[in-house]
């Protein structure tokens, strides 16, 4: 289990956390975390990368696919607790213009 999704008590915010390496190995788990009714009903989606060590381009692809998948409902997707390397990767790929990075 490398991906964990937790819905807030009021049911408004879904927080998805990824452990270790955020790469192609967690593709199905990550997709499962947002591709469900619970996620679709949540108002805010938070991707918590506190436990994430590294990411590769597939993680970026997954985030873009997730954004496209959840776009219709016009909700905010925030990526929080990024380490320095991950922050730099988001900067170089202009992800900071596509997502709210904190």
């Amino acid at each position: 289990m490398n991906v964990e999704s937790v819905l807030s008590e009021n049911g408004l915010t879904l927080t998805i956390s990824i452990w270790g390496e955020f790469n192609f190995m967690v593709l199905n788990e990550f997709r499962a975390a947002y591709n469900n009714d619970t996620a679709r009903s949540a108002k805010n989606i938070i991707i918590d990368l506190r436990k994430t060590e590294t990411i590769d381009s597939s993680a970026l692809g997954m985030l873009l696919n997730m954004q496209r998948s959840l776009k219709k409902s016009n909700r905010e997707i925030r990526i929080i607790n990024c380490n320095e390397v991950v922050k730099r990767i988001f900067a170089i790929t202009h992800f900071d213009k596509k997502f709210v990075i904190e």
Partner: protein, 402 residues
């Protein structure tokens, strides 16, 4: 002034004494003579007094004028030894002066020649230094762009291009990953569908098996019915065959779907590899690019510095050369001096000729006077020459050639 005063006072004392004596003598004489000759005596006394006065007033001038008279010797011929000395001096001068004049001409020629060569060389040097300076200025102005940054000319385009290439690469890899993940998701969906198909196939197999069992039961029941069940036994047999074919077909479909699933798994793996690019490499590339830009900026700055220094040096060379060219005007001075010295030597030659003719003069005093005149003339010529030399030096001012 004191001396003249002293002299004057002495003469006045003498004059006064003469007057007193004359007047005393006059009084004694006037007492002795009668009235008839008295006016003659008065006139005589007045005349004597006037004589004294004139004598004493004229006295100082007379002293001065009389001085040369005391030292001027009588008419004498020039002593033979001195004449011989002069003759040898004259012949020596005659011998030495023409080569000197020739040497002066040679000096002049050599200086003019060397000077024209130097002029050419310096002009060439000045021209080349000027070219070099302009070239350097041209490069510097190219390096300096309108916005004042120095790198645009050589490096900025290169770094910008490199950054664009990196940007493109990032964009491309992001796009590939995006599409790859999308494809992987579709593959995943398809696998779910295939798994559902397996379940369906399982159901189909179950139905076929059940149909087979039903056919078997039907053929048993048909056999028990005897002759009447014969037709039904044929149908049951056909149904059994159909169910067997169904099972075979189901197995074949199962196998094919299984192969598809394996292919999809492989596809998933391949797509995963395509979509998974190491982002740290991109970061390294970006770091390298940033460092390269910093390095290139340093190189560019130092190149610019060097160019500017070189340009300053080129300008300095040009200034030095133009100063040197200015200094070459000493040629005029040398020519002038040459002319002066030559004319001096030539006049000296004619002086020698007149000196030679003087030696035949019988009176030494005439020789001395003429010699003195010649000497004075030479001295004044020498002063003129000296002033010509010094004025030439002053004209050149700060040029330290002499």
């Amino acid at each position: 002034m004191m001396l003249i005063k002293e002299l004057m006072s002495k003469f006045y004392i003498k004059a006064a004494l003469a007057w007193v004596l004359t007047i005393l003598a006059s009084i004694i004489i006037l007492k002795e003579v009668n009235d008839e000759v008295r006016w003659l005596v008065v006139m005589l006394i007045t005349g004597v007094s006037l004589f004294w006065t004139v004598l004493f007033i004229q006295r100082p001038e007379k002293i001065e004028n009389s001085l040369p008279d005391e030292v001027v010797p009588g008419k004498q011929p020039l002593p033979e030894k001195i004449q011989a000395y002069f003759t040898s001096l004259i012949s020596f001068s005659r011998q030495e002066i023409p080569p000197l004049i020739k040497s002066m001409k040679q000096i002049n020629d050599v200086v003019l020649d060397a000077n024209s060569t130097l002029h050419q060389s310096f002009n060439g040097l000045a021209e080349n230094a000027g070219k070099q300076g302009r070239l350097l200025q041209d490069i510097i102005s190219k390096l300096h762009t309108d916005n004042g940054t120095s790198n645009d000319f050589i490096f900025d385009k290169f770094t910008k291009d490199t950054a664009t290439v990196l940007e493109h690469y990032v964009e491309l890899s992001l796009n590939v990953s995006d599409k790859g993940i999308e494809a992987a998701n579709k593959v995943q969906d398809m696998m779910v569908h295939l798994d559902e198909m397996f379940e369906l196939l399982q159901s189909v197999k179950y139905i076929a098996d059940q149909t087979g069992m039903l056919a078997l039961n039907a053929s048993i029941e048909a056999a028990r019915a005897g002759e009447a069940g014969k037709g039904f036994a044929v149908v049951a047999n056909e149904v059994k065959k159909l169910s067997e074919q169904s099972v075979k077909l189901n197995d074949a479909i199962h196998n094919n779907v299984n192969l598809s699933r394996k292919s999809l798994e492989e596809t998933n793996e391949i797509v995963g590899k395509i979509a998974s690019l190491e982002m740290l490499d991109v970061l390294d590339a970006k770091d390298n690019l940033d460092n390269m830009i910093v390095d290139l900026n340093h190189v560019s700055e130092s190149v610019l510095d060097s160019l500017q220094t070189s340009s300053t040096v080129a300008t300095a060379i040009q200034n030095d050369v133009s100063q040197a060219v200015m200094a070459l005007q000493y040629e005029d001075m040398v020519s002038q001096l040459n002319v002066h010295v030559k004319s001096w030597l030539q006049s000296f030659e004619s002086d020698i000729a007149s000196m030679e003719s003087l030696l035949t003069e019988s009176d030494v005093s005439v020789i001395v006077t003429a010699m003195n005149e010649l000497l004075n003339k030479k001295i004044s010529q020498g002063i003129a020459l000296q002033s010509a030399v010094s004025s030439s030096s002053v004209d050149e001012g700060d040029v330290d050639l002499f």
